[in-house]
């Protein structure tokens, strides 16, 4: 087993992690950046391998210059030994071990592929968790047909491989993130048949303060809208996908227009042909590691389970900070600001010199958070999608559990919260451990119980003792080494 000893381990090399690592390293702290990705950047700045084709960052990326300059600086610092860059390291467990943290990793693009690589443990006095988020999904008829993918998946294929997901694509769901997905696909040769957005950006009119405070945020969206117009991509606001059509692969979708009350307006249902549907309903923060460590959480405005942090981005667990989507979905700009604050605070706790730009950073964070909160309110998940789930609609893709089984677990068997539903009907018990269906199952459970979705419902699908699938042989050794000091497992 390979072991490293550093002052600070930053987990995640997306916007928040990179910002945290650089801030702490420049403050004089020895930092390890531990990331599952083969190349840095996280989901947001995912980039292709050199052989994948001609890569023009401007056609796919926002803030690319900040990313490359930060990344270059980290590489420089790696040359001096201040920074340790650990790419392709999947963290499966973090445990307290005395006054340090032990970060256990398995290696590789897909660690299951070669079950023989030596495991790596990073020992660190402080932790910054910048674990990011993935697309949030809702079940609807036909969503398991091949050709239905997540909006982030379409984006990952494009950013990471320069491959367009399909010939004729529909991008659907809700949120400003749908626009760059559609724009990227259109620029790289896909025909984007439509963007189906459940809400409308006109909703921002209700939040003038938030929009003015976050300079540039609305401009980004307007830029995408203009380019989509030039690519003749129709953006249909207040429309939803009612079903995916096809037998063994997607051939089209059924869409409908929502009326003022969020119901499908009679006579507006129509079919649009496509070979790929890229769909997303916001994001789910990746919380396995903060939950393993016992960090306090709460429900955010968008109903995501997020890590609770203080003004310094410190979590409820001493020695652990969190930044980026894990503390509330708000995009890359907010993540970098939070990351910097977390990195500086962690460095200060290790005795590094106090830093000058604390106040402006906090002001920027508060305006970006204000904008994020407005965004969540402008782009809520419409009730209609879950309301239209019939008993036959598949909810858990892994264990093939339908909405009827979840309903019966509540109505017939008396389950009152999601953890019991999970035990009775098995949603979230398969390969993905509820990463995909957890949010929907929690919401459906709450609906059938006649209450709003609550923190324990979501925690039922986010608590995992192993954060990433590990070849079985890996599990025994490190756990045995660390007892009995560790109480962080």
């Amino acid at each position: 087993m390979t072991e490293h000893l550093v002052d600070l381990a930053v987990i995640g090399a997306g916007p928040a992690g990179l910002a945290a690592a650089l801030a702490a390293a420049e403050a004089g702290v020895r930092v390890a950046v531990v990331d599952a990705g083969v190349r840095p950047g996280g989901q947001f700045w995912r980039s292709p391998a050199p052989g994948a084709g001609p890569f023009r960052p401007a056609t796919l990326h926002h803030g690319w210059h900040w990313f490359t300059s930060t990344d270059d600086r980290l590489t420089e610092l790696a040359g001096t030994g201040r920074v340790l860059r650990l790419a392709g390291h999947h963290v499966w467990s973090v445990q307290a071990a005395g006054d340090q943290w032990a970060v256990h990793c398995v290696l590789g693009a897909e660690p299951r592929q070669h079950g023989t690589s030596a495991p790596v443990t990073v020992h660190a006095r402080r932790l910054v968790l910048a674990t990011g988020a993935y697309d949030r999904q809702l079940p609807f008829p036909g969503w398991d047909l091949p050709g239905v993918i997540t909006a982030g998946g379409a984006q990952a294929l494009l950013k990471g491989n320069l491959v367009v997901a399909g010939q004729r694509v529909i991008v659907a769901g809700t949120g400003p993130f749908l626009l760059p997905v559609a724009d990227g696909l259109a620029r790289h040769g896909a025909r984007v048949a439509a963007v189906i957005e459940a809400n409308s950006p006109l909703g921002f009119a209700r939040f003038p303060g938030a929009v003015l405070g976050a300079t540039g945020k609305l401009g980004e969206a307007t830029g995408y809208a203009g380019r989509l117009l030039r690519h003749r991509v129709a953006v249909h606001h207040r429309h939803v996908v009612l079903g995916a059509l096809g037998t063994d692969r997607l051939t089209g979708v059924l869409v409908g227009r929502l009326d003022r009350n969020g119901r499908v307006r009679a006579g507006t249902e129509r079919q649009i042909d496509c070979d790929v549907l890229a769909v997303g309903w916001g994001f789910t923060p990746q919380l396995e590691l903060p939950l393993q460590l016992g960090c306090a959480t709460h429900l955010d405005v968008d109903k995501s389970l997020v890590v609770t942090v203080d003004d310094d981005q410190a979590t409820s667990v001493a020695g652990v900070w969190a930044a980026g989507e894990a503390t509330g979905v708000g995009g890359a700009d907010l993540a970098t600001v939070e990351g910097r604050i977390a990195g500086l605070a962690a460095a200060a706790s290790l005795g590094a010199d106090a830093v000058a730009d604390g106040r402006p950073l906090r002001r920027r964070r508060s305006s970006l958070r204000g904008f994020a909160s407005a965004m969540h309110q402008v782009y809520p998940i419409p009730d209609i999608v879950l309301e239209r789930c019939s008993d036959e609609t598949l909810v858990c893709r892994c264990e093939e559990v339908d909405a009827g089984s979840i309903r019966r677990a509540v109505v017939d068997l008396g389950a009152t919260e999601a953890r019991t539903v999970k035990l009775l009907a098995r949603p979230g018990m398969g390969w993905c451990q509820g990463r995909v269906c957890g949010f929907a199952t929690a919401c459906l459970t709450a609906r059938h119980t006649g209450r709003a979705v609550a923190e324990p419902d979501l925690r039922a699908f986010a608590d995992r003792s192993i954060a990433t699938p590990v070849p079985l042989g890996r599990l025994a050794a490190p756990l045995a080494d660390e007892q009995p000091d560790g109480d962080g497992g």
Partner: protein
Amino acid sequence: MSRPREFEILFDGTPLSCRDGWTIGAALTAAGVRSWRTTRHGQRPRGLFCGIGICFDCLVTVNGQPSLRACLVPANPGDDVRTQKGPGR
């Protein structure tokens, strides 16, 4: 020795062209293949869904090793990629 920029992989015996740096999932998608697995209970076809290693819908057998996530595994020249049925082991 440098790797070729383009090479072939086999999907259920059929050669597909692939660029260096693509994942198996990207190579299958670029070739128009949408599914390479069937589910345990309903025998339903599945392929890429999340694209980032979260959902495990894209499980595939590569060079005899089952249940690998196609969206993560980098393609290598001559890889023997096979459709996977049921739990894959």
